[in-house]
């Protein structure tokens, strides 16, 4: 069976991805840009589903849409006047930037689309390795399990490193984002008082 994603689903999701992404970079209200980002993330999760990477789709929703995007929305709420439209949202040279980006797009498309890829017509995401952990695993491994084993066998080190990465960014972010009780507050402080 050749893997053949449903074209209607693909084009719908692709339109949603592109449309929401455009809204992210052009929306006049920052909060709307944030919402559009969540839309993009969900659409990308849908594409993962279309690509049969279900676990990743769930992780995308859980971590990306659920944690990262929500955190960004919080940042918007904490720093931004609630309703002020972000009128001057663009730099002075949006057209130059647009031209640059179109050039980049041309290069990327030219580079990728003309290449030959090592793709196989096969459909299953079957791993080509044998687990060494002593677990009895059936021949057709569901992908979540295969993913877990893959994380255990060759990708142990990066897996551990990611936890260190998150730990250090957490420590540092706390320090930088927190107010320093030992020092006086920044000038021009407004009347607001955060808890």
């Amino acid at each position: 069976m050749i893997y053949d994603p449903n074209p209607v689903a693909f084009w719908l999701l692709a339109a949603m991805v592109a449309g929401c992404a455009l809204a992210v970079v052009r929306a006049r209200k920052l909060f709307h840009a944030g919402l559009a980002l969540v839309g993009t993330l969900f659409a990308v999760a849908g594409l993962y589903g279309l690509l049969q990477a279900w676990f990743l789709a769930a992780v995308q929703v859980l971590v990306y849409a659920g944690a990262i995007a929500i955190m960004l929305l919080f940042a918007i709420m904490l720093t931004h006047n609630m309703m002020n439209p972000d009128l001057k949202s663009l730099t002075t040279q949006p057209w130059t930037a647009a031209a640059l980006c179109l050039m980049l797009l041309a290069i990327l498309l030219g580079g990728t689309l003309s290449s030959t890829w090592q793709t196989a017509p096969d459909t299953t995401l079957s791993p080509t390795w044998t687990p060494k952990c002593g677990f009895q695993v059936a021949e057709a491994i569901p992908s979540v399990q295969a993913l877990g084993f893959r994380l255990l066998d060759p990708f142990t080190l990066p897996f551990e490193m990611v936890s260190v990465l998150i730990l250090v960014s957490l420590i540092g972010a706390l320090v930088v984002a927190r107010r320093n009780p030992a020092l006086p507050e920044a000038p021009e402080g407004r009347e607001e008082k955060a808890p």
């Binding site: 209200k29 909060f31 709307h32 919402l35 969540v38 279900w54 676990f55 769930a58 992780v59 929703v61 859980l62 849409a65 659920g66 944690a67 995007a69 929500i70 929305l73 919080f74 709420m77 609630m82 309703m83 677990f135 009895q136 569901p142 992908s143 979540v144 399990q145 808890p195």
Partner: protein, 388 residues
């Protein structure tokens, strides 16, 4: 859902092949109807219980006098239908200064989340005309448990949007509180669920139930994950209360401080959607608790026959019906527990809530995970393979 539905239609009509979209449509309809009716029933139940616990007269007495005179439980049932009619007929107000897009989007999102979360929930299984039992769910997803937790995200998003779009300080604060609360409690919740995941070696809710039925160390009742992952069950239940913003964790809508939190500006149908979603979510967490910790639709050592001969009539799908009965009985037991909690505990303070979640529940869920890993290893080594 799909295979059972097809089977059912074929049995009824004598070989009619259903189109591929029919099961989806039917399940959508069923879930919608279930949400609406179940919410009404739960509201009634909640009122009764609060009336009993806190001695409130309304819920015990409103409605035709005869009913109230007949018994304590029959009185007061009139309140819920009246409420529903009121909500449906009220004027739909969109305040002038709100962000219209966000304001209209939020209730839709929250309801979408409430709907979507039903997809992987297994309510029963049947082996009618099949060799192996089929799990009855809209779709028993491979990553069911993860999916359920992930969908909660949409609720946070909706609440934040509602809070922001209302352009109102109370709403904004309520929305942010709710967002932080749900986000924070999602983490211990996920870790609490990870214990059962490890024990079962699967993320599918159907698999989880079947594994529990098979038992741990060869002992059936031990298999209910309530036993090996008891801490996890407790943590999950607490987190579930927090996730659904129910008292004692109802900071987001604390009336004395925030009027009604993120839903302050909402009226009529839009408000009803938030309200409905809240009750639906409450029931969903109870269903998840049932499936993950209480053995779902199974009873230890009890395997219902696929059809029951009543002498004059053979009842088909008996195992399906029995499973559903067991499942809903368990789920409602959990609902009652939640309601008991709701009407007996006072509300927490937001910072206490955070401290409790991060400094107490999270480490507790880690401990639970460790215990589960050890148990799973013992099962693996001495009893061969995952229980399933």
């Amino acid at each position: 859902m799909e295979p059972i539905f097809e089977q059912f239609v074929r049995d009824l009509t004598g070989g009619f092949q259903v189109p591929f979209w029919a099961p989806m449509l039917v399940s959508l309809g069923l879930v919608l109807a279930f949400i609406a009716l179940n919410a009404m029933f739960m509201i009634w139940l909640e009122r009764k219980i609060c009336g009993r616990i806190q001695r409130r007269m309304g819920p015990m007495l409103t409605g035709p006098k005869a009913w109230a005179r007949f018994s304590m439980w029959t009185g007061g049932w009139f309140q819920t239908p009246c409420d529903s009619v009121k909500l449906l007929l009220k004027e739909d107000i969109i305040p002038a200064q709100v962000d219209r897009f966000g304001f209209m989007l939020a209730p839709v999102l929250v309801f979408m989340a409430a709907l979507a979360v039903y997809v992987p929930l297994p309510i029963s299984s049947t082996s009618y005309a099949q060799s192996a039992p089929i799990v009855v769910a809209v779709a028993d997803l491979d990553i069911g448990l993860l999916y359920v937790v992930a969908i909660t995200t949409l609720t946070i998003l909706a609440i934040l949007t509602a809070g922001w779009a209302s352009n109102n300080k109370y709403s904004l604060l309520g929305g942010m509180r709710a967002g932080v609360q749900i986000l924070s409690y999602e983490i211990p919740m996920l870790f609490a669920l990870m214990g059962p995941m490890v024990l079962a070696g699967s993320l599918s809710l159907g698999d989880l139930v079947l594994v529990q039925h098979a038992g741990l160390f060869g002992v059936p009742l031990l298999g209910w994950f309530l036993v090996p992952s008891f801490l996890g069950a407790v943590v999950y239940l607490i987190c579930a209360v927090a996730e659904t913003n129910r008292p004692p964790f109802d900071m987001p809508e604390a009336e004395q401080e925030l009027v009604a939190g993120f839903s302050t500006e909402y009226t009529a149908m839009r408000f009803a959607m938030f309200y409905l979603a809240e009750f639906s979510n409450t029931f969903v967490v109870c269903m998840i608790f049932t499936a993950v910790f209480l053995g779902g639709w199974t009873l230890p050592g009890f395997i219902p026959p696929s059809s029951l001969n009543l002498g004059f009539f053979t009842l088909p799908y008996f195992d399906l019906l029995a499973g559903m009965a067991i499942f809903f009985a368990k789920a409602y037991a959990v609902v009652l527990l939640l309601m008991w909690i709701r009407w007996t505990f006072p509300r927490l303070r937001p910072d206490h809530l955070m401290t409790f979640g991060w400094k107490f529940l999270l480490p507790l869920s880690f401990v639970n995970l460790l215990v589960c890993i050890v148990l799973a290893a013992i099962q693996q080594i001495y009893f061969g393979g995952n229980p399933g």
